[in-house]
Symmetry: C2
Subunit: 486 residues, 2 copies
């Protein structure tokens, strides 16, 4: 931001590129167009970036040295993890007069320590999430963060975006899992607070600044995270309910009666499940009769508890008797359970086969979900006759991916051209219900204007004050979260 | 801080007192010395404050108006909750040329909303913690924060100090329980982010700034907090172990085998329990034979689970067979369980009867607790021959209250005069083990110098940058966390 206000003249990047290359050595950079390609395009295809140089540092000291150069030369620094984001947060926007280097965490990929007695793990930012999960499992522990991209997303990206996923109900978002952070600051200082303490009230909790900041305040190089006992007993059910109101009542009753062993409470509408059955080989709806809404409910505990399945079945039978649940099945084996989760995890992929889609990542208080779905459905059907609502997500977190597939036989480009208009109105409904226009995906470039609309005034003023305090030259991830100039 | 650097001349407080009084009306202030007394002294007696005026606003708008006046006149504002702190964080230090008003949250005491389906509650800062717990219970929900002072401490103070207590192992500290905050800022703006969302990635998570900031960045006026299912099955055990190493191994095994239903894992040394038996009427050690260390272990679930007690007993029998546990008893009834918790909650009170005490609120990674206790005990016995170590706390959180009672028959004042020298060396051991010198009590005035010692360099620089960004005139709680001038 302040870059534009100073009298500093940014040199031509070609004149200083060697300085950056010498920090990381010959194996630590890419400047060949074809090699850079995979780093510059997001999976959803909404953004395509530009940069003269991709840096792949392998130590925290290298990251700090890169940022020190960025500060000296007023060069933008764009942190990138596994490049699985959906809002353009890791895409550089280099121009000739405002060069930006992309800094990939890929080679910062060591598990530094696991402490099973302290239930904690310390890992570098570039560790793939699945690798962290596996390292924890080998030590007899659970790292609970779980999301569709876990095979390629990285811990540093999970932290910088405060990732959510399917285990938030019981274990919280990434923010709740971080005990300590190591961060390279824009001016090259390093904040080392990799403590593995459950309690540490020694001044401001600085790590909170960098969690969910989308790389706009510093580069997260490593983290110490909480681990949990591994589940030994897992019960998974697939239920049919007639409406969202019944789904909410089922959730509240399940959490009340089955307790905090309720580890997942997902929901999806009929069309979503039909798309999966249609497009994903080997998948089919587990129930004989179609239903307006489905629930995927999981109850688990680290205890060996032979009675848990029976208790869940009795609970469900009671709700069935009252009419709240229309139908349901409890997985009788690991493979059956896996099949239910495959259904859930295939929803995004299945929707891709139905043409262009406009996606919303909305949260509301759980009790408001029925109103949100009803109002938003009515809105979009009015705006785009024939539009197909593909709604699924994490009901226990009040989080729905309220996605729209284009009407069959219409033009994709025409449909996508209406994204921002439609989204703004959908978000307006969420905000009017006390909700959020970005539950777990973040702001990136996609929602910069939305942030100004819905969090303008005091919240945005405070965010800007924090940004100025930590990154006064606006080096870190320019144009993300905030407009490039403000 | 910046107060000293401006050319602004602070008027005599007597000339502007009427402005403050008119904001809150005749029932909203105290300026009579005897009426003010209870607000100016901390329970431990280490601090006695001074102020010309205590303000008791009853609305957020009044708090904002008070802070606006403080900014206009460069008057310090000292937020206070239930005045149960232990580090001087809520005590004003008014002088003639640097007046400070005390702002009590006492009349901000409404429960604004409870949403059982969303498992959330919205309450004002001055609600007593026990009142919040009771309101949640009436709605069939659990508000898990629990600590000795719960009958008088207030929600706003719990938030501003990131309170811990006995349920942190399972539910986290206060930070983990906050969904949304309403905060009056130093210049009179109000940050309204009282959202009750589990997921909300819309820019920086501003509420994190104010949680644990000890009132140095703003005045927390209300909060939306998470609720949980109420426990229906509770099993509580009292165990004897021969050393801290065995206690740690028991903890790791219990959490691994009994899972996250393990809701408390407390420990205490022999002398602590002897002091309780000696000084607290009606209390006695539950085991026949004395032991170097004791554990209070609780396992609970919201499920009706008749097998849980048996499972815990079998687990303990196995550990007993291996020699890890020397002895133990499982509470067979509610009253037995209450008696065990009374033992735990009486430890501070019992220690008071043994003369002067020097207290440490230390945390280390759980696996490091044996080393900490051994090294710190050896240190203090060398420094003060005959000193009595009263060590107890939350082993599952790696948090020990490593307290020292004066040697019998020595002079209290002489002993207390050595507080800062002894503490600094005890803290040095904690920090060398990756630990913290303030696990849950905070910095206040007591540990300002310790913060500079142990968190100097980059962490303190970042904290100061945040302080300057949010409170540039240094209005909020001067001299707490940071020195009065820096």
């Amino acid at each position: 931001m302040a870059r534009a206000k100073t009298s500093h003249v940014t040199p031509l990047f070609s004149e200083i590129a060697a300085d950056f290359r010498s920090v990381v050595g010959p194996d630590g950079f890419l400047d060949d167009r074809s090699a850079m390609d995979a780093y510059l395009t997001e999976s959803r295809g909404l953004y395509r970036g530009e940069t003269p140089l991709i840096l792949l540092p392998s130590t925290t000291a290298q990251v700090a040295a890169i940022l020190r150069l960025c500060t000296r030369y007023r060069i933008g620094a764009v942190p990138q993890g596994g490049n699985t984001g959906l809002v353009g947060g890791g895409v550089p926007c280099s121009t000739a007069d405002r060069p930006e280097v992309l800094i990939s965490a890929r080679r910062l990929n060591r598990i530094r320590a696991i402490d099973p007695e302290n239930f904690s793990i310390t890992a570098e930012a570039g560790c793939v999430l699945a690798t962290v999960q596996e390292a924890a499992a080998r030590a007899g522990r659970l790292f609970p963060l779980s999301l569709g991209a876990e095979g390629s997303c990285q811990l540093g990206g999970n932290i910088s975006t405060n990732a959510g996923g399917t285990a938030v109900l019981r274990f919280g978002t990434m923010r709740d899992l971080v005990l300590g952070l190591e961060v390279a600051l824009p001016d090259g200082r390093v904040l080392d607070s990799l403590r593995s303490l459950r309690k540490d009230n020694t001044g401001y909790d600085l790590k909170q600044l960098f969690i969910g900041a989308e790389g706009t305040l510093g580069f997260v190089t490593a983290a110490t995270c909480k681990l949990f006992p591994q589940p030994r007993t897992v019960v998974t059910a697939w239920l049919a309910v007639s409406d969202v109101r019944s789904a909410i009542a089922t959730y509240a009753a399940a959490r009340d009666q089955l307790g905090d062993d309720l580890t997942a409470f997902e929901f999806a509408n009929r069309l979503t499940v039909e798309f999966v059955a249609k497009h994903i080989p080997g998948s089919h709806s587990p129930l004989g009769v179609a239903s307006p809404w489905y629930l995927l409910v999981e109850v688990s505990t680290a205890r060996l508890d032979a009675d848990l399945a029976l208790q869940v079945q009795e609970f469900l039978a009671k709700l069935h008797a009252t009419g709240l649940i229309a139908d349901g099945v409890v997985a009788a084996s690991g493979p059956q359970r896996d099949a239910l989760w495959r259904l859930r995890h295939s929803m995004s992929e299945a929707q891709k086969k139905e043409g262009a889609s406009i996606k919303h990542d909305v949260s509301v208080p759980v009790a408001g979900m029925a109103d949100f779905v009803a109002q938003a459905t009515s809105l979009v059907q009015g705006l785009v006759p024939g539009v197909r609502v593909v709604a699924f997500g994490h009901l226990g977190d009040g989080n729905v991916h309220f996605n729209l597939s284009q009407p069959p036989g219409t033009d994709s480009a025409d449909f996508l051209a209406r994204w921002s208009d439609i989204s703004h109105q959908v978000h307006e409904i969420a905000v009017s219900l006390g909700g959020s226009f970005s539950a777990e995906h973040g702001i990136g470039m996609l929602k910069v204007q939305e942030l100004a609309s819905w969090r303008g005034g005091v919240p945005l003023q405070l965010m800007q004050a924090v940004k100025r305090a930590i990154d006064p030259l606006g080096i870190m991830n320019p144009g993300k979260v905030f407009p490039a100039e403000f």
